[in-house]
């Protein structure tokens, strides 16, 4: 059986979901023979490959860079999974939505916000599925390692996510 080409991406989030993913501990050893990790903040590939079977996405879509990234990833992924509350609800990044991007930039950087290094903010920080279609939702802040394991093993087997959703 060929290995599942697997990726994880990190948009506007705190990396807590990736920490929770690593928190699977020994189960990662069971997962390892089934998957080929082709792109992730946990490994050193610089570009997202052409054909990926399953991608976990952490974080909300908050900047033009996030949006370009996730549109590219959607085109090259069969099953896209929103992992954690930021990806599913926009959560904490979305708390800035009552302010305009200009107000935020000015508040953080003063009168001369950088224009080159920082990708421009979108008007609102939004859940991933408000930009592109998502196949599986795993809410939680962060989802527990157990939740991720159960959902992931089911998805890898072509089954629906057996874990009841839980925000927060």
């Amino acid at each position: 059986m060929s290995k599942i080409r697997f990726a994880t991406v990190w948009l506007d989030g705190c990396s807590g979901c990736h920490m929770s993913f690593l928190d699977m501990d020994l189960i990662l050893l069971d997962l390892a023979p089934k998957i080929d990790l082709v792109y992730s903040p946990l490994v050193d590939f610089k570009t997202f490959p052409d054909q990926v079977d399953v991608t976990l996405v952490e974080g909300a879509v908050s900047s033009t860079e996030d949006e370009e990234k996730i549109r590219h990833i959607r085109r090259h992924t069969k099953i896209l999974i929103a992992l954690g509350d930021c990806a599913v609800t926009s959560n904490v990044p979305g708390m800035r939505n009552i302010f305009s991007p200009d107000t935020i930039m000015q508040h953080v950087y003063g009168d001369t916000p950088p224009v080159q290094v920082i990708p421009p903010l979108l008007p609102k920080s939004v859940p991933v599925h408000h930009v592109i279609p998502i196949d599986v939702f795993i809410p939680g802040c962060p989802p527990s390692a157990d939740t991720i394991v159960k959902a992931l093993l089911a998805v890898l087997d072509g089954q629906p996510n057996p874990v009841p959703p839980r925000f927060g």
């Binding site: 979305g94 708390m95 925000f167 927060g168």
Partner: protein
């Protein structure tokens, strides 16, 4: 409500089960007596039903619209369905609308893990909100020395309004405005801390289903509430002790 009435005994059908009841009972009361679960949010035992949240909508054969179980009285021979694909879709949409209309950020809420809205989303399988978020700008009233009112997390169930009026007898709370503009106000729209009618009893805080009314000094997930309070108090009153 009161068991010492001469109400007629009737028979009706709920989810293909034949059940006996009194004609002064609502469909929700009868369902609960018979261990038939109907999801609710604004309903709280001990308070007058408001029919505000519409989560308890049920189908009644021969009626061309869905009706709230908490405010609809049973009649002889009534045939009620508490669940169907359409009802489940309505309930999920209601939950989605509540999440989309306010600013509910469970991860940073004092009521995280002890919230009826959060529990209902899980129960009804709401894994994500398909509707666009409104992200309204809503104030937080921290003028009271012991409690905080966070309008961002208010679902307008009016439990606070009812418990303050019916149990405490103060009637500090009301709802002002309509639609998305509607919000809870203290007295004549004053800061809570300046509301002369408030006795600071805290009943409104205990019955609030979300993190809208909370005790000060609680961190994330620390706020636990005593929702049984009105039931305990009104039962005591009924027994005249």
């Amino acid at each position: 409500m009161n068991s010492a009435t001469n109400a007629k005994v009737i028979t009706l059908t709920i989810d293909d089960r034949s059940v006996g009841a009194r004609e002064d009972q609502t469909i929700l009361q009868i369902a609960r007596e018979n261990n038939i679960h109907i999801p609710t949010l604004c309903f709280l035992e001990g308070l007058t039903p408001a029919g505000a949240c519409r989560l308890c909508l049920v189908e009644i054969v021969g009626t061309n619209r869905v009706l709230p179980a908490c405010t609809t009285y049973a009649t002889e021979g009534m045939v009620v369905r508490t669940t169907s694909p359409a009802l489940e879709a309505h309930r999920r949409t209601i939950i989605e609308l509540l999440f989309a209309e306010g600013n509910h950020v469970c991860a940073v809420c004092v009521s995280n893990g002890n919230c009826e809205l959060q529990d209902l989303a899980t129960e009804l399988g709401v894994s994500h909100i398909t509707l666009p978020y409104l992200n309204p700008v809503r104030p937080v009233d921290a003028s009271h020395p012991r409690f905080t009112l966070d309008h961002n997390r208010c679902v307008l169930c009016a439990r606070c309004v009812r418990v303050c009026d019916e149990v405490e007898g103060a009637h500090t709370w009301d709802i002002m405005g309509r639609g998305v503009e509607a919000r809870i106000i203290a007295d004549l729209n004053q800061p809570w801390g300046e509301a002369a009618s408030c006795t600071s009893c805290g009943k409104c805080v205990q019955v609030c289903p979300t993190g809208a009314l909370v005790e000060k000094g609680k961190a994330v997930a620390e706020m636990r509430k005593r929702h049984a309070l009105p039931k305990l108090i009104t039962r005591q009153q009924e027994h005249g002790s």
